[in-house]
Subunit: 588 residues, 2 copies
């Protein structure tokens, strides 16, 4: 089945969850108007559907080949990447100063969804390159920026993030890769990094690695980590490519999914040391890497949305075609399309509702990032920055957990055919399964939300956000719309549950941080479910009766928001039984 | 990592959920005692650990080969199957009259868990053979039984179920395979069947296919389906193998998981008609097939338990070894084993709790089947039969949904390593994903529970079951055990929620069956969660303080039973938003 970009759902999410119309009217995005936004998304949709989507399944089958240290990508990937760059898509969200188009995060997230829906393995390469551009822009010298950014933005070079080492995954403080000052202002980097996405491939002329390493005189732990730019090919003063640098791909992982995306073991300095350039200050590398990682976390959340969307489209198409049994629908013939069976419809509605809710949370996060970047006064900037920081872990974890759940439901809708690889539904689950893991596991996201984000601005970041959601619940109540069913009631109950759980968290952070950690994951789920329900309801309020936005908001409220009070019970009373197990009886 | 049979957890589940001690004392199982039960399970555990488990991963990698119509199984499978048969394991649950050991369903389920934990792809073949034996025993002529059962029970022949056709999956009424009377009492079978597990392989001397087909003068629909026994090799009067019958494997599916289990396209009668023998009466085949399928449904539920157990063992072992970060645990060094991190412990406890809850529900179902078979008076027999019928869809769907969830959590515990195939965690998710689909999708199970099982005995089957669960809740309350935390409260709330949802279902069945269908899946989840919580609590009551059974029951109650009231809200008020979508706005 073919992929079609859900242009209307994307625009609806931008309009409601990201208040795009309001932002355009208020001049938040100079030079942008509604027609241009639609035109960009439609054009991206065409590129995704015509160029990227047809490669998704064959590339998964073909996989990657490692010859020596050269990685060959599947048929069509090189050409597609060339077209992607030529079409200006790699430049879209980048600074105009270096050849970018300077389009905001809301647009970048919308088109990012399309690339990843069409082809998740392909979408990862621009995603990582974007992160590297962010980091260089934020912390590089102006000389570094003018040398490296233009070709990265043009898409002729790509970028990577080199964090993980075999013994240092979530815990970066213990990484061992070494950097030595060479005396000429450059550094020599040695060490092994694993799980490096697009560490080596044949789609671009050069690859710019951003690498975390430790100077020999650096303090221990996370305060002794520096960030280096290590190009695959050194770059001459005139911008032309020079010698091959001392970095190679020593292996490819054999993975459950994203078979077309190279996940590399990278060896730095096997010939004496890879030449690296310091990005930012010595020993302050982790802070810069976090700039990159935070942007990437939202982008991974958007990948969750993307896989939700693709799996849902496939399941809906199959359920409209496949006929089995007789449904209760009046017009149904001897054999009904299975979409008419109530239980299948429940699955499809769950998929669709989780997709749109995740999309809305991601786009709301993107809008906050834009405000943080574009707002004219310092207070608005700071408020928006806190909002973005608060929502980023939710956007990442909620959307990617949903990616797995929705892709799994997509298989179920197909019945036995879903388990057969040729159908394509199984690939979505295989691909989706990495999303809750990389760029910070979803457990790390939950801990980040609870330990670092709830306390932001003395708690005001979360308080002001909940006020906004409460305003939506109040508007639903005041609308008195019968076609929204119990939406108002369920949303109010969800917000009350979230408030209760948040108050508990506030206390736990003071008195028993380990209890907060034990309850972090159900808390994040409660947060995401509630926020998603609020956005869906907001998106229904101005729609006519019979609108699909109304039907979806109601379904979500009556079938998924119902989980919220129970989640609050788990948060506020479940930690004890997690911590009692510190005694270890169960796993003795 | 190696698999170790969880002998103590299995015995604990047998003792509590299946009341095995009481049954042994009451003489329900003549000739069986507690020592024998333990010895059988330990011996099975050794066979699973030593012979089957080491083949699990290499066989997944190697997969199957189809040469012409001959299927070659992975290295070691032939030999393992031979040892399995020689060890008497295939005969274990079979009638003594034909060479079986006549051991009851509770033992069969316990050892079935072990085979499937050790090697799910291997375990499927005996599972299907067992189903075929059941059907022949129930409906075959005595001549047929003496000819076919002994070698099937001895394990030299295996069996299959041939139901599905390309256009007839969940809806068997429309199947088209044909049977013609040949005049000599036999039939000629023609047609194509798909998704036939172990339809062809090299592990046994003969394969006995049970095939649903339609006589040309049969009524339309499900009342015109007959069941035939079609051997791969015809069998001479002296029991020796004769000519090759007209049935071949025309293809193997390329699947997400269970790569070592052949899923075959079977062609019957390409050379004029496969010789088949009628099992039971003409046009009454579906009833016999359901005997087979019901037994298989419990066995698939047990496969869910099995994959839960294996994934949990692997994740626990990894979490004890892998060190990252510093936990709050007092004794923790610079780098703690990740099992000490509260969020990881939450995942592992969830896995362990869902595993044991699923196991207990399956074993309770097995006990009911035994009572139905062995009880001396008609009333007890009938009551037990209803109990088994009621619990079978719950055992199948709840356990297999948990299989997918637990296997997915198992990947998450491993972080990035979980996504790498060599780790082995990913295989469990790939293998688990078929379980909610085959032997009746979990949606079909939910519909079966609601439409056919709740009304059993005028509702008394479910009423008497809930009374039993309420007795457990009351015993928890009366125990006043502080170490059970909120277990009593949460269990009472879950039972109240289940009662409310059941009352709603009772009304919906009368007035709006489509509403009952729309709510069936969350209803089954609510039923399974509550029953599992009750059994865990029952299993905790007689244990000392500090026991892992107490810790697990409390964790489950405080962290998972909390979902029950919300599920009841979904059941009783969620159907409207599913059915409103009959208008189709969302999927227009």
């Amino acid at each position: 089945m073919t992929y079609q970009a859900p242009v209307d759902d994307i625009l609806h999410a931008l309009k409601t969850a990201a208040d795009l119309d309001q932002a355009l009217a208020a001049g938040v995005y100079p030079g942008l108007d509604a027609d241009t936004v639609r035109a960009i998304i439609e054009e991206a949709g065409n590129f995704g559907a015509d160029v990227l989507a047809p490669l998704n399944w064959p590339a998964d089958r073909e996989g990657l080949k490692l010859n020596g240290s050269v990685v060959k990508t599947p048929a069509g990937f090189r050409d597609a990447y060339k077209k992607f760059a030529e079409g200006g898509w790699s430049a879209l969200p980048c600074p105009e100063e270096y050849g970018g188009q300077g389009l905001p995060e809301v647009i970048s997230s919308a088109v990012g969804e399309i690339w990843n829906s069409a082809n998740l393995a392909f979408g990862l390469c621009p995603l990582l390159t974007q992160g590297a551009i962010h980091a260089i822009e934020a912390a590089g010298t102006s000389e570094m920026k003018s040398r490296f950014l233009p070709p990265m933005i043009a898409g002729t070079w790509t970028g990577t993030m080199n964090l993980t080492e075999p013994h240092a995954g979530s815990d970066l403080g213990v990484l061992r890769s070494k950097a030595e000052r060479s005396g000429d202002g450059t550094y020599r980097i040695t060490g092994t990094k694993i799980f490096i996405t697009c560490g080596e491939h044949d789609m671009s002329e050069n690859i710019i690695h951003l690498v975390l390493a430790r100077l020999s005189d650096a303090p221990a732990g996370t305060r002794g980590i520096s960030l280096f730019l290590v190009p695959k090919y050194l770059v001459n003063d005139d911008g032309s490519l020079g010698d091959r640098n001392d970095v190679i791909c020593a292996g490819l992982e054999h993975k459950l999914g994203i078979h077309a995306s190279p996940t590399c073991v990278m060896k730095f300095g096997e010939q004496g040391g890879a030449i690296g350039y310091l990005v930012g200050e010595e020993n302050r590398g982790l802070a810069t890497m976090f700039i990159m990682m935070n942007a990437a976390r939202l982008a991974v959340g958007v990948q969750g949305v993307a896989i939700c969307e693709r799996a849902t489209q496939r399941a809906v198409a199959y359920a409209k075609e496949r006929r089995q049994g007789k449904s209760f629908m009046p017009a149904s013939g001897d054999m009904s399309p299975i979409i008419e069976h109530a239980d299948v419809r429940r699955m499809l509605l769950t998929m669709k509702a989780l997709t749109q809710a995740s999309r809305m949370i991601c786009f709301a996060t993107a809008r906050a990032l834009d405000d943080a970047h574009l707002a004219s006064d310092a207070a608005s900037k700071a408020g928006a920055l806190s909002r973005a920081a608060l929502l980023t872990p939710v956007a990442k974890a909620f959307s990617t957990d949903n990616g797995v759940e929705v892709a799994s439901l997509g298989i179920q809708v197909h019945g036995g055919m879903g388990f057969v690889e040729e159908t394509g539904a199984a690939q979505h689950l295989r691909d989706a399964r990495i999303l809750p893991i990389y760029e910070g596991t979803n457990g790390i996201q939950a801990i980040d939300l609870v330990m670092r984000k709830l306390p932001l601005d003395g708690g005001n970041a979360v308080i002001s956000y909940f006020k906004e959601l409460a305003g939506i619940a109040e508007a639903v109540r005041a609308s008195n719309r019968a076609d929204l069913g119990l939406t108002g009631k369920r949303l109010a109950a969800a917000l009350a549950a979230l408030g209760e759980a948040t108050a508990w968290m506030g206390k736990a952070l003071q008195t028993s941080p380990e209890a907060a950690l034990a309850a972090a994951t159900p808390y994040l789920r409660l947060f995401g479910l509630t926020a998603g329900g609020a956005y869906l309801a907001k998106g229904a309020l101005n729609e006519a009766e019979g609108s699909r936005h109304v039907a979806l908001a109601r379904f979500y409220a009556e079938n998924l928001l119902t989980q919220c009070p129970g989640l609050s019970d788990t948060v506020t009373n479940g930690d004890g039984s997690v911590l009692v197990e510190a005694h270890g009886a169960v796993f003795a």
